[in-house]
Symmetry: C2
Subunit: 259 residues, 2 copies
């Protein structure tokens, strides 16, 4: 651990969201902080990057003593611009993303811009953590997230992470009870039962709003869903190797010649 | 296998790209085909979905005997609209995405809209396959992809896929030599060395274009990069469980109490 680590902070709710302010405040004692975050909400942008258009950066004042830039792109664009434009190809010592306004448990890791930024950090070999509070409200109470951030960041800076992985940290919504602690988990098997609400515009043309209900029937007590349901903070080590290694043997039973 | 399977076709290059036309033509003998694809290019949109705006569908004529809709959203939006709007919650028997104009090997699976649509299919428990041709040209020659599609789709319809996984199929660019066959692989460890080209707009304000160079130093002969470099078709079984299971033990050595 260097004396003064460089910490890159991003999110997907936009640079002026309360969640990122909480995260920046907690990072300042740990090192030099560089913030590059979207100029507008970019939730559910997944691992999208901007290739058909250009990007811009705008210097903004977020808080004293912190260099901060708003970016016209996605969370993953922010990570790329931070490293390859602002830092000239040098990597920060730590990347933290969030604190997201809303849960990123289970399969939501795939949709989440917050977590995709952390996964991009892992791809760049940077120790990376995504933090989410399971409360969508813009006025959510982030106070119980603060000790979680300090604990997890302290551990990562001292101890590092397994190469190829980052962390997906979800903090339950405040309910008056103290959090029970951190719990290392696997991503629960779950799904979205989606629905589209159909409306008619003033010209009588249909349009559709996505609505979904998150369903987990995974009974495992080693999952992130179980952990947050029991008022633990869930920590899922998350990797960018998406290979289904266990499926390779079956596919090798196929005829591999081409007719 | 039902007499007449229902096959959902999507892509990320847009509904009028030559690649999806190739795929639809090859699917017609296998069953009833439903096409729902973006109305404009959506490359590198990853697993993004549209939650801050609404979606529209427009019926289009792609070819005779095929129901086709263009969608204002991302590739994953197309999958959700197909299932939850057009099919009333019923699942197709097969989902195919592509044929992408360009490679989706290695870590590009995370950025790819083509593959994210297939991953969404796997999340819906639908046997799903993403096809990519390693040739970005809009006039690319898709003829050598056709026997690959027939072989892989035939196997999947007859034999199924391991639950929780889909297939990432990459076909090398035509070079005059016949393809050597199919090769089941893991996703290569690789990275993008990115760069941003800085330009000045007419008002002298900077803007940035992402340019990157794909680098793989993974020497394994079991990777997708090795396979396509040696003129094999790579098939990587791809899963949506992003848990780094091997990293859990290390994280359990941390103190899990919160101060």
């Amino acid at each position: 651990m260097k004396e003064q680590p460089l910490i890159l902070v991003t999110n997907d709710d936009g640079i002026f969201a309360p969640g990122i302010r909480t995260l920046v405040e907690e990072m300042k004692p740990f090192g030099r902080v560089l913030v590059v975050a979207p100029d507008k909400p970019q939730s559910a942008m997944g691992h999208a990057i901007t290739i058909h258009s250009f990007l811009r950066l705008q210097s903004v004042h977020l808080m004293d003593g912190v260099e901060a830039w708003s970016c016209t792109g996605t969370p993953v664009d922010c990570v790329k611009l931070a490293i390859y434009k602002l830092l000239g190809g040098n990597k920060p010592d730590l990347l933290v993303s969030g604190v997201n306004h809303g849960a990123n448990i289970s399969i939501n890791v795939l949709y989440s811009g917050t977590m995709s930024a952390a996964v991009e950090g892992a791809m760049e070999n940077i120790p990376s953590i995504g933090f989410s509070l399971m409360d969508h409200s813009i006025e959510a109470d982030f106070s119980q997230v603060r000790p979680v951030i300090r604990s997890v960041v302290g551990n990562v800076l001292n101890d590092g992470l397994t190469p190829g992985s980052c962390l997906n940290v979800n903090v339950p919504k405040a309910n008056g009870e103290p959090l029970k602690g951190l719990r290392v988990c696997r991503q629960a098997k779950a799904n979205w039962e989606d629905e589209f609400e159909t409306r008619l515009d003033p010209g009588n043309k249909e349009y559709y709003w996505l609505r979904g209900e998150f369903r987990s029937e995974d009974q495992g007590e080693d999952t992130d869903v179980w952990a947050v349901d029991h008022h633990y903070v869930s920590i899922v080590p998350t990797q960018f190797d998406m290979t289904a290694h266990h499926a390779i043997a079956h596919l090798n039973t196929w005829d591999h010649a081409l007719g």
